[in-house]
């Protein structure tokens, strides 16, 4: 009887191992959408630097100026260089906003040298430097997504990612991701790396600036924690 019990136990071992394996797989695949957002927020809070490229959809305008695209370089806690491309009647121009050493500098066109903004002048410009701020930046904003749901996984630059859709509103984003001035909820889609939980791509859709016009923006993030070159304003 003991021998039969032992053989039965041994025979059950592969089945037990299989169940353990399935349980193990299930524990990494069973992240909920909210858990994905949470892990992404944690990872983002620990970022030291990041680069991003933004493409703006039609009708994306700030102070009457059409935004076409932008590239940004960010270094925690508060250094950044954001170069935008704008479209006017006569052609395209590239204003640039630089934050360095706690000061904000701006040039309306590339011919212009950087000019330091006073605190009052700085209020008129996007406060993007705190994007990597652990307490007030992108990280806590990501975690506050509502009605999150997982879509089918997708690859971004050959990296397998969770694809999460969530709703964000003024309370979640207006203070964290300037220059958004949301008046109601927008739909945000995030692509979060399965293995490293880094947010690689973000798409925002809705009334991003004005209540009467729906528009979109797509952000690609890359070069996480890599070397960053922020030009001197001099």
């Amino acid at each position: 009887m003991r021998l039969r019990a032992g053989r039965t136990a041994l025979g059950l071992l592969p089945l037990l191992a299989l169940c353990a394996g399935v349980a193990g797989c299930g524990s990494s695949e069973s992240l909920s959408a909210q858990q994905v957002l949470q892990t992404a927020a944690t990872t983002t809070a620990n970022l030291k630097s990041v680069k991003l490229d933004i493409k703006f959809g039609a009708g994306f305008a700030v102070q009457g100026v059409d935004l076409v695209s932008a590239t940004g370089v960010f270094r925690a806690p508060g250094d950044s260089d954001l170069l935008a491309k704008t479209r006017t009647v006569g052609g395209f121009l590239e204003p640039e906003l630089l934050t360095s050493g706690g000061k904000i500098y701006f040039k309306a066109i590339q011919f212009q040298a950087f000019q330091e903004l006073t605190p009052e002048q700085a209020l008129q410009y996007p406060d993007v430097a705190r994007l990597l701020d652990r307490d007030h930046g992108l990280a806590p904003a990501i975690a506050r997504g509502r009605s999150a749901r997982l879509d089918a996984d997708e690859a971004v630059n050959s990296v397998e990612c969770y694809k999460v859709e969530a709703a964000y509103g003024p309370a979640e984003l207006n203070q964290a991701v300037a220059p958004l001035h949301l008046t109601d909820d927008i739909k945000v889609t995030l692509w979060v790396g399965r293995s490293d939980h880094l947010v690689r791509r973000v798409r925002l859709e809705g009334h991003l600036f004005t209540p009467d016009q729906s528009t979109s923006a797509e952000v690609h993030l890359h070069d996480f924690n890599g070397p960053v070159d922020i030009p001197s304003p001099a």
Partner: protein
């Protein structure tokens, strides 16, 4: 044969009047104007590199084949240029400016090749002793094509504004090159002329061509201002410049060791030959100042639109062939040196007047004529006066069998001058504009309209001041070229068809 050459020459500077629109369609920022300079310099590099090569190439493979192949390369380049920015192939970043510049380089390679082949073909078709006129006509076709290009470009782009605008300029080239190719084939068959035969003994020095091309391209890259806010030239100016020098010295060394070099040593020892080419090089450098900068001043300072800016440049362009005819006549009366010096003095006076232009210039009257019109016409006349005596001085020093080469060198020297002038203009001109623009901080108010108006006013005043300086320098270079012509040119004052090199 001449029609194809004329078509290619038209495209050399066809873009100067439509550059802002090209930049808009390719989403190139206006405040990064240096990014647009390869659109012009790319063509020039291709044009210059291919010229010393294709004469020998046609000796090996036959004039007709090389001419037709050159037309094909020009047509492919035209198609690439016309389609720049329309797709995202091979990638979004490559489909815009890199695609366009590749097209322009190919246009230059094909177009530049037509010059020596056309000259060699003219030499084949006409016996010694009666080649001067056909060679002169070929050179004249090339000259008139280049000077008409900017106005032609603005006119075609304006007429085809609903059909792609500036793209039509390049689309038109395709059926026209096909017509030129068919016409050449039919004319050769109907005329019963000697077919262009290839030579088994002629060789093509690809290494020399590669050295020349690499040297010029490296020089253009070295001078390219990648960050005008910090420096006038590229960040790799020293290594690229040194590499350019090495390549160009290598080319010269290789030529000196050739049994049959591009330029016969006897010509290189001739003071008039050297002086005429040096004069031509300097003329090229200031010619590009007028071609590129007059439309910029017209739009940025005078506030003119695309067509009106082209029409302002036309005052300069139309005067060039008038001056060329007058220069030929004058050279026959008073000699090459005095005719050339007179022309350069006239151009210097015109640039000096342009260095004092004001925003209300177009309303000023001088001796009953609009001042700007008179000044630009004087400038064009001056350049025209130089063309014939300098070309004739070079041809006089070459033997009959070297006339094709000498005619190529006339075009080559001026094209090299234009390339160097454009590169220097982009490098130092943009940097100088940056300095002038930022002499004082701009007001950063809360009113976007007021801020835009302040920006525009600062832009116009900095542009005007910059061009005052550039035109003053151009006047100085004209005087220098005049001094070189006065000191070195000899001959003329009587008809001279062939003079053995000293």
């Amino acid at each position: 044969m001449s029609a194809g050459l004329f078509l290619a020459a038209l495209d050399t500077y066809v873009v100067v009047t439509v550059l802002p629109r090209m930049m808009f369609d390719l989403a190139l920022p206006l405040d990064r104007i240096e990014q647009a300079t390869p659109i012009i310099s790319g063509f020039l590099v291709g044009y210059i590199v291919t010229m010393p090569l294709t004469g020998a190439l046609s000796d090996v493979y036959g004039r007709g084949r090389v001419y037709l192949a050159s037309l094909a390369v020009f047509a492919v380049g035209s198609a690439l240029t016309a389609t720049a920015g329309l797709t995202t192939f091979p990638s979004e970043s490559l489909a815009g400016l890199p695609w366009l510049v590749t097209g322009r380089v190919l246009q230059g390679l094909g177009g530049g090749a037509l010059v020596p082949v056309a000259l060699a073909l003219a030499a084949d078709l006409f016996p010694a002793g009666s080649r001067a006129l056909p060679l002169g006509l070929v050179a004249a076709v090339q000259e008139s094509g280049s000077v008409m290009g900017p106005l032609y470009g603005a006119a075609v782009a304006g007429a085809a504004s609903g059909l792609g605008g500036w793209r039509a300029i390049f689309w038109i080239n395709i059926p026209l090159t096909l017509a030129c190719a068919v016409g050449l084939a039919m004319a050769a068959r109907a005329g019963g002329s000697r077919p262009a035969t290839s030579s088994a003994t002629a060789t093509v020095d690809w290494t020399a061509a590669g050295l020349l091309g690499a040297g010029l391209a490296l020089l253009v890259l070295a001078l390219y201002p990648d960050d005008p806010s910090r420096r006038a030239v590229g960040s790799l100016f020293i290594p690229l410049g040194l590499a350019a020098v090495v390549a160009l010295v290598g080319y010269g060394w290789r030529q000196s060791r050739e049994a049959d070099p591009l330029i016969p040593p006897a010509l290189l020892r001739n003071r008039t030959f050297i002086g005429a080419n040096a004069t031509n090089l300097l003329v090229g450098a200031v010619l590009i100042v007028a071609l590129v900068d007059v439309p910029i001043v017209a739009r940025g300072v005078f506030g003119l639109g695309e067509i009106d800016a082209a029409l302002l440049l036309a005052r300069f362009m139309v005067a060039i062939p008038v001056g060329a005819v007058a220069g030929g006549w004058l050279a026959g009366r008073i000699g090459y040196r005095w005719a050339a010096t007179l022309g350069l003095a006239a151009a210097a006076v015109a640039f000096l007047r342009m260095s004092g232009w004001q925003p209300d210039e177009l309303g000023r009257i001088l001796l009953g004529l609009p001042d700007a019109t008179a000044t630009l016409a004087l400038c064009g006349l001056g350049f025209g006066l130089v063309i014939a005596p300098v070309a004739a001085a070079i041809l006089d020093r070459a033997r009959d069998r070297e006339h094709g080469l000498a005619s190529s060198l006339v075009v080559l020297a001026r094209s090299v001058g234009m390339l160097l002038g454009l590169s220097a203009l982009a490098a130092f001109g943009i940097r100088r504009f940056y300095e002038l623009f930022n002499r004082a901080p701009l007001p950063l108010g809360s009113d976007p309209a007021a801020a835009a108006a302040a920006l525009q006013a600062r832009f116009s005043s900095a542009l005007l001041e910059e061009y005052h300086e550039i035109f003053l320098i151009a006047a100085g270079i004209c005087l220098l070229a005049g001094a070189v012509a006065l000191a070195t040119l000899s001959g003329g004052g009587r008809r001279a068809s062939t003079v053995a090199a000293a």
